[in-house]
């Protein structure tokens, strides 16, 4: 297996600060890809803009480094046009939960089969350390001239409220644990979020590796923890959501990582489309032939049949 990981590495120098948590995330992704034996040519890593969003350049698979906040809609277009591709999104907390919050919410309503990896470092790294949407009120990281006066958004709660069907949290420095989460998320059919706590060694002097040490615990080690909706009954969903929600609010001396909530029973967006239009499943729209030697696949006769409703046969009498 180990050698396989090399298959997912590029020779681009990672210009992250030495010690940055992002290194751990990339390592976990590469390991997960290797263990899932993903074909790099059929895998796409899509990102926004930020330190974290440089990720695709360091992973040997198709990479689409998009715009600040817009990784999710780019990824959605890619996935819907060719559902055979494995699509993973990487973005910062500013990217996905600040400027991109609208898309973050919308994709949950669709359950498109993509995995979203949130690099949660509580700051805007690449623009030099401003407060990101996950920094809590009155906290003051290094670069702030005054304490933060916005409340933090809770990615786990927001994802659940928005309809994500797989919601987990990992820690950038627990590479193997994170790797397992990534594998589970990619295997899951539907929109998956992994909120990754990611120390920013340069700008975040509050949420450091030291801070996390001793505080983090694994949900899967809690007795009786079962985040999976087994029967798609309202009652079970309610209960699982309520428990996930409660865990989502936990932050302080004890901080949970692991899987918070999984509902495998919700149709993906792709399945919904296919239900309405079975053709969709047969061949990805991206790969359909639309012409032969420049002649359109739709002939004049086809046109007349397709748009029959719009055509009047002139009858002069």
């Amino acid at each position: 297996m180990a050698s396989n990981v090399a298959r997912y590495k590029t020779d681009v120098w990672s210009d992250w600060c030495p010690g940055c948590g992002d290194f751990g995330i990339v390592a976990a992704m590469q390991k997960a890809f290797a263990e899932l034996d993903l074909d790099p040519a059929q895998t796409v890593v899509v990102s926004g803009i930020g330190c974290s969003s440089k990720t695709p350049h360091f992973i040997h698979a198709n990479g689409v480094h998009t715009l600040h906040g817009r990784a999710i809609p780019f990824a959605t277009g890619i996935k819907l046009a060719n559902p055979r591709l494995t699509v993973v999104v990487n973005g910062g907390d500013g990217d996905l939960l600040g400027i991109g919050a609208g898309h973050f919410v919308a994709v949950g309503r669709r359950n498109v089969d993509i995995t979203v990896i949130l690099h949660n470092n509580q700051v805007y790294g690449l623009t030099k350390g401003q407060a990101s949407p996950t920094l809590r009120r009155w906290e003051q990281v290094k670069s702030l001239p005054r304490p933060n006066i916005q409340d933090a958004v809770n990615p786990i709660a927001l994802a659940i409220a928005s309809g994500y069907t797989f919601v987990a949290r990992g820690y950038a420095l627990w590479v193997d644990h994170l790797k397992e989460l990534i594998k589970a998320a990619i295997r899951h059919k539907g929109t998956a979020l992994i909120d990754v706590l990611q120390p920013c060694v340069t700008y975040n002097n509050l949420y450091t590796a030291d801070f996390y040490k001793g505080r983090l615990y694994k949900l899967e080690e809690e007795p009786g923890w079962d985040p999976i909706v087994h029967e798609p009954s309202i009652d079970e969903i309610d209960e699982k959501v309520a428990r996930a929600w409660e865990k989502a609010l936990e932050w302080g001396q004890r901080i949970p990582v692991g899987v918070f909530y999984v509902n495998p029973h919700v149709e993906t967006y792709e399945e919904r489309i296919a239900k309405l239009n079975p053709l969709y499943q047969e061949k990805p729209i991206a790969l359909q032939e639309i012409e032969e030697n420049g002649t359109p696949a739709i002939s004049r006769e086809d046109f007349i049949k397709l748009f029959n409703k719009y055509i009047v046969e002139v009858d002069r009498r």
């Binding site: 040997h60 998009t66 817009r70 277009g77 890619i78 639309i290 002939s299 397709l306 002139v314």
Partner: protein, 637 residues
């Protein structure tokens, strides 16, 4: 003597079926081979505000413009009678609801105070009173208009009794009264009217029956009272199949033929109808044979619309999005990403009245310069504009071809006039259709130099082809990885921009601008929906002894500079008149920028209503004969 050409107007509150009347008439007329063009004017409102259909019918040609006054008008409510008091020709015909006679113009809540006050002013001038009755009298006595007063109440009561329906249900048949009365005066035969009804209500048997019943009854009665004073001469148009479609539909058809596979959209007037059209044609199955399918994706906003369309394009799906001003304003950032990443995407842009929310349901051509320069930084794009349904159809296909051939975003400009008008047009000519995917590659392998610098246009293996590629909005190397090296920067920057030079060489200038006519007295310079009115105005002016020509601009980037400059020079600054639906004369500014030729004569309209032939003719005369520099047109409610 039967008529060759006729203009009519149908008016009523939004939601009262005026569009339906127009559609049925159009089908009936097309069935007999007439050419029809109708413009729909309506408020940004769902129910209650005044709306109308303005139609030109021709027995000898496919109409391409509108004008006033009209020969025939049919109004379901008092507001229409007031609003269009001055739009009816002397000697023309007016059908209206006599039940509205006592209604006063001051008592119509849906009428905007500005409209009311303006009309009241004119009424004072002309000595007209405040009621519908007063207006009708004026029209009849002063203008010689032939009045066909109908009692809508009695007619609908008759229907209610026969079919046992509520008043609300019966109200839906107001549109039937109008089209039937019009059909009567136009001398349309019963079969063609039935055809129109069946076509409109396909599959809804009961509705068809009721409409037919009411229509035939009305036609009979009216014809017995008034004859067929507006009978048309038989059509001499030599076409056996007519497509009846709006501009929105035609663009949708073009996209389907051109191989569109992914269309994203966020609802907006006047673009959404195109996406709805596509939604109804997602499965392309002909006689059981699967030709493919389209995915129409309603997004959470226009940013997601363009982002997902670009994403789909990366995988090889021909992709587009359709929008209007406010939506495009939100797409600007991602437009630049597509430019930087040499990614094909088509933005079908239906211009409406701006700025901001502006006049959402009215027409305009005020977004040209915006589309030419939208987004920060510099990158190649293609901007083309269609002036009639034929152009719109082929342009929809070519836009996708250009996007893939040059690996650039393409903006296809249309305007609300074209989008929401209904046309009768011939079936497209397959000889003119080609699909060109440029250097798109569906099978490849290994790490691929997606941005190979050795030629401006690099091979483009799609994601999923087997190749591995990287994309980034940052300046990048040949593999698509970020680099800030200054020399690579220059090379990549120039590589991208050179694609425009190639397009400028490859796309014939004659396809990018077209000269109509050869008269040397003046040259009209226009674009988009101006075309029809300009061409028809040329003919009228020629009769008046003024011989001109019309230069129709079709592509703004790359701009056909050499050809246009030559033509403009042959007229000289004094004889070139920009005709546009905006205040800045944007196409003329684009022309100056590209050619250095400064245009100093203008005919502009920015009320949101189309340019009518008669006002254009008048304006040209004022400029060419009267020496005016600029005429602002304002006709139309």
């Amino acid at each position: 003597m039967p008529l060759r050409d006729l203009l009519l107007l149908i008016g009523g509150p939004q939601g009262s079926g005026m569009e339906t009347s127009g559609q049925i008439l159009t089908s009936a007329l097309a069935r007999r081979g007439y050419g029809v063009l109708s413009d729909r004017e309506y408020y940004s409102n769902i129910v209650g505000r005044h709306s109308y259909v303005h139609m030109r019918i021709s027995s000898h040609t496919i109409p391409r413009s509108l004008t006033y006054p009209v020969h025939l008008a049919g109004f379901v409510d008092a507001e229409s009678v007031f609003t269009h008091t001055f739009d009816i020709a002397s000697g023309g015909w007016l059908i209206y609801d006599a039940g509205t006679d006592p209604t006063k113009i001051t008592r119509i809540p849906s009428m905007e105070p500005q409209v009311r006050d303006r009309l009241l002013g004119k009424y004072r001038e002309h000595g007209i009173g405040e009621t519908v009755k007063d207006v009708i009298e004026y029209l009849e006595k002063e203008k010689g208009v032939n009045i066909v007063p109908l009692s809508f109440k009695l007619i609908l009561n008759m229907l209610r009794q026969k079919y046992n329906m509520t008043l609300g249900q019966a109200q839906r048949f107001r549109s039937t009264i109008i089209f039937a009365a019009m059909a009567a005066l136009l001398g349309l035969d019963a079969d063609s009217v039935s055809y129109g009804i069946e076509r409109r209500f396909r599959g809804r048997e009961k509705v068809i029956e009721m409409n037919k019943f009411l229509a035939s009854k009305l036609i009979e009665e009216i014809r017995s009272d008034y004859g067929t004073p507006l009978a048309l001469e038989p059509s001499s148009i030599d076409i056996d199949k007519l497509l009846i479609a709006t501009g929105n539909d035609v663009v949708g058809m073009g996209k389907i033929v051109g191989g569109l596979r992914f269309q994203s959209y966020y609802p907006i007037t006047p673009a959404a109808d195109e996406s709805t059209f596509l939604e109804s044609h997602e499965s392309l199955v002909v006689d059981g044979e699967k030709k493919g399918n389209i995915l129409v994706f309603q997004t959470e906003d226009e940013i997601a619309a363009i982002a997902s369309a670009i994403g789909a394009g990366l995988t090889g799906a021909r992709s587009a999005t359709a929008t209007s001003g406010p939506g495009f304003s939100l797409m600007v950032e991602a437009l630049g990403w597509a430019g930087m990443n040499e990614s094909p995407v088509v933005i079908t842009y239906y211009q409406r009245g701006g700025p901001s929310t502006g006049q959402p349901t009215r027409g305009s051509q005020s977004d040209l310069l915006f589309t030419m320069f939208a987004s920060h930084g510099e990158f190649p794009r293609i901007v083309l504009a269609s002036g009639d349904p034929e152009e719109a159809f082929y342009d929809a296909i070519n836009a996708m071809n250009y996007a893939e051939r040059y690996q650039v975003p393409v903006i296809h400009l249309l305007d609300k006039f074209l989008a929401n008008s209904t046309f009768t047009v011939p079936i497209p000519d397959w000889g003119r259709i080609r699909i060109d995917r440029g250097k798109t590659i569906f099978k490849a392998e290994g790490d691929f130099k997606r941005f190979d610098k050795s030629e401006p246009i690099s091979p483009r293996p799609v994601i999923g082809s087997g190749a591995i590629t990287w994309y980034t909005g940052d300046e990048h190397d040949e593999y698509g990885h970020i680099t800030e090296d200054p020399i690579n920067r220059v090379e990549m920057y120039e590589k991208r921009m050179k694609k425009l030079e190639i397009a400028d060489k490859e796309i014939p200038e004659e396809e990018r601008a077209k000269l109509y006519g050869s008269g040397k007295d003046f040259l009209l310079l226009g674009w988009g929906f101006v075309k029809g009115a300009a061409l028809d105005a040329l003919a009228v002016l020629e009769e008046k002894g003024l011989k001109g020509a019309y230069l129709h601009l079709r592509m703004f980037i790359p701009y056909p500079s050499r050809m246009v400059r030559e033509i403009l020079d042959s007229y000289g600054a004094e004889r070139v008149i920009a005709v546009e639906h905006n205040i800045m004369a944007q196409a003329s500014l684009a022309t100056t920028m590209n050619t250095g030729f400064k245009i100093g004569r203008y005919i502009l309209k920015y009320t949101g209503r189309p340019i009518y032939v008669m006002e254009l003719v008048d304006a040209v005369q004022r400029i060419v004969e009267g020496g005016e520099d600029k005429v602002v047109l304002t006709y139309g409610e």
